[in-house]
């Protein structure tokens, strides 16, 4: 266990949010059990009021998740000198098998709480609250995920022992064990970039279609997940070379450092915003025809679609621009 201030802050934030989320899940169970829109009694009124509490909790949770996502990576980076062979956050996260799962769980929590808030927004617009059950079922899925994230985080830090020899971004490319990041870094740059361009452009077309017509949200959701994944893969395998201007450096995290203008925040932020809005639009599709939502969901979906389109377009433009103007030439 390493008692570094960043570690303490992360543990505190994670346990706090998970505690609160479990509390919210408890309320969720009450709501799933007792919810009855047709009733106007005190009990139903209290449940309605509790949904407002849960929305606040999830909104705060989303904020915290985004903040601690960044803090987690920075802390991993700050700890890297403790581990032989580690040069940045990648090395620290590789020290034990809980590093990356924590990161992925945080990411998943962020995306799901974002989608939850979208469902919430749609539901609040409708007087019959037809999405209440759906929302609280999602909440019950989010709670174990957040718990997993906390457990993984605690375990990760508990098991961090200084002096462990680890592999870092410099050596990832050499192959060796097939960790997630080494696989990503090991992808051949050009084809990966090509796959990304195709996916992203297809998603853009799909989002514009949804924006114009209000249809095709499911395809948009799939597309935005694909764009998110290929976007990260292409960033690590291809575009980052143009930021670092070093042929073998495939680090996903160094982009967050001041040396590179912390451009990573913007790039990852855009991808996350795109995937949340794209998936949010898709998640609403099933409920489009429910009474009370027919006039609420389509405009919301169209707004989400254009938001996703804008996010992905900015991302696409930024990385393409960098590849075009950088003095570095691959191959």
């Amino acid at each position: 266990m390493i008692l570094q201030p960043g570690v303490i802050a992360l543990l505190l934030a994670s346990l706090g949010t998970t505690g609160l989320l479990l509390y919210a899940a408890g309320i969720g169970i009450q709501i799933l059990r007792g919810w009855d829109v047709t009733s106007s009694n005190e009990q139903q009124l209290m449940l309605e009021r509790k949904t407002a509490l849960v929305s606040s909790i999830i909104a705060i949770l989303l904020g915290f998740q985004i903040a601690t996502l960044a803090l987690f990576i920075y802390t991993a980076d700050a700890l890297h000198p403790l581990f032989t062979g580690s040069m940045c956050a990648v090395g620290t996260l590789n020290v034990n098998p809980f590093g990356y799962p924590t990161l992925l769980a945080k990411l998943a929590c962020t995306v799901i709480s974002g989608i939850w808030l979208i469902l919430n927004r749609a539901d609040n617009r409708s007087s019959s609250s037809p999405l209440t059950r759906t929302r609280f079922l999602w909440l019950l899925a989010l709670a174990p995920l957040a718990t997993f994230e906390s457990v993984a985080l605690v375990t990760f830090f508990m098991k961090l022992k200084p002096n462990v020899i680890t592999s870092c971004c410099g050596s990832l490319f050499d192959g060796g064990q097939a960790t997630l990041s080494s696989v990503l870094a090991g992808l051949t740059p050009l084809p990966t970039a090509l796959v990304f361009y195709i996916t992203a452009i297809a998603t853009l077309i799909s989002s514009l279609y949804t924006w114009r017509t209000g249809r095709g949200s499911r395809i948009l959701a799939v597309g935005s997940v694909a764009t998110f994944i290929t976007g990260i893969a292409a960033l690590i395998a291809f575009f980052c070379l143009y930021y670092y201007e070093i042929p073998t450096h495939h680090c996903p995290f160094c982009l967050l450092q001041p040396e590179y203008g912390r451009i990573g925040f913007l790039l990852y932020g855009l991808l996350i915003a795109g995937v949340i809005t794209g998936c949010g639009s898709g998640a609403l599709e099933r409920h489009k025809t429910k009474p009370g939502l027919t006039r609420v969901i389509p405009p919301l979906q169209r707004r989400l679609a254009i938001f996703a389109a804008v996010s992905f377009t900015i991302y696409l433009t930024l990385v393409t621009y960098q590849a075009a103007v950088s003095s570095f030439k691959s191959g």
Partner: protein, 242 residues
């Protein structure tokens, strides 16, 4: 524009201190009409007003509203009515904000802020630019004859002035219905008369009035299109001596 069908309100239902404050009231009110509700203390007037004004929901029965103010807010049925009985609270609030203005028995002004800010306060969550609200509020205060007291803290105002501020506040969101609960209870005869004059003016401008009172000055005035009597939560048609 307002319909109550067999409305009841039971407090603390199921508990030992269960109390049925309103028992099966049916009532209909047209736009522009003015209604005075009479009844002894504890008869359920305030409870009835708060249900009409969407402050809380009846235990059983139905309350239906219509009007252009609420048409865009909630889905209406074929006849243009909205059944508010089982609406979620956030919709009740939205309807209340657009459709009703309240003048409370105690004036319920926020102490420590000026008369003007008190009048502005209900408009804040609506999403109107602050300057516009300020302008409207100042105009309302001036039209009620307390324009010169705008910047005074409400606790420094006299009872009559406080009530005018309370009326201005009730009107800031341009409601179509003004609900007043015992508006003259804390006023002397002169001030009560002045209140009745203001009410008459509002009526002339087309505002629907619902006033609960057991002050003869109010229910014997010619303001009322209709007077009803409530006793023990029940509507009694015959107006016997209180």
């Amino acid at each position: 524009m307002i319909e109550l069908i067999d409305v009841t309100k039971t407090f603390n239902r199921g508990a030992a201190n269960e109390y049925r404050a309103v028992r099966g009231i049916t009532l209909e009110l047209a736009a522009g009409e003015s209604l005075i509700i009479k009844g002894p203390s504890g008869s359920g007037k305030t409870t009835l007003l708060s249900m009409i004004g969407c402050m809380n929901r009846p235990t059983s029965g139905r309350i239906r509203l219509t009007g252009e103010t609420i048409a865009g807010l909630v889905d209406t049925d074929a006849s243009g009515f909205v059944e508010v009985t089982s609406l979620p609270e956030r919709f009740l609030t939205a309807i209340r904000r657009r459709m009703f203005g309240f003048v409370f028995q105690q004036f319920n002004l926020i102490r420590g802020i000026t008369a003007l800010e008190n009048v502005m306060q209900p408009a804040y969550p609506v999403g109107i630019p602050r300057r516009q609200i300020q302008h409207d509020a100042a105009e309302l205060l001036a039209s009620l004859g307390v324009g010169h007291r705008q910047t005074a803290l409400v606790e420094h105002l006299s009872g009559g002035e406080q009530q005018r501020v309370a009326i201005a506040r009730a009107l800031i969101n341009k409601p179509s219905v003004l609900i007043a609960d015992e508006p003259t209870a804390h006023l002397d005869t002169v001030l009560s008369r002045e209140f009745m004059e203001i009410a008459a003016q509002l009526k002339k401008m087309g505002t629907t009035l619902i006033i609960a009172s057991h002050d003869p000055l109010v229910y014997e005035s010619d303001l009322a299109d209709r007077t009803i009597v409530v006793r023990d939560g029940v509507l009694v048609t015959t107006d016997t001596e209180l």
